[in-house]
């Protein structure tokens, strides 16, 4: 996750409290999801960004996981997410993100 976004997330966690936040990802492939999830739960794994050593423990989801997509109104789901759901394989991401959330 780029340093600019890490800095914003750190500031928002200070402002609202990490317990009041959730992160929703839109990654197209699973390989980025684990790094993103670790960054907002355990801290920046590269130990280089603003979240290095900062375990915010913010629950993290993918937009195509049932926990998220099921709350999106049907018309928006069809218009904005249906095409993505056909090309993005969310199953491997679900496994990674469920493990990350269970660790919180």
């Amino acid at each position: 996750m780029n340093f600019e976004n890490q800095g914003v997330i750190k500031r928002l966690a200070d402002q609202y409290g990490p317990e009041n936040l959730a992160v929703v990802l839109g990654n197209g492939e699973a390989n980025g999801v684990e790094v993103f999830a670790e960054t907002v739960t355990q801290g920046d794994p590269s130990f280089a960004g603003p979240l290095a050593g900062v375990a915010l423990k913010i629950p993290v989801y993918h937009v195509l996981e049932p926990e998220v997509v099921d709350v999106v109104p049907e018309n928006l789901r069809q218009e904005k997410l249906e095409l993505s759901s056909m090309v993005i394989d969310v199953e491997p991401m679900k496994q990674v993100l469920q493990v990350a959330r269970e660790k919180l």
């Binding site: 928002l12 929703v24 629950p59």
Partner: protein
């Protein structure tokens, strides 16, 4: 549960972009406090 949380939407250029995530969640009545689109390589 995600309901009732303030949402940070981090999209991806080759996946679902941040503004699309934000639009979907705001349509669900959720508060999106930040959205961005990353390019993961």
């Amino acid at each position: 549960m995600i309901k009732g949380k303030k949402v940070i939407a981090i999209g991806e250029r080759d996946g679902v972009p941040g503004p699309v995530i934000a639009e979907c969640l705001e349509g669900a009545g959720m508060e999106v406090v930040f959205q961005a689109t990353e390019c993961f390589v």
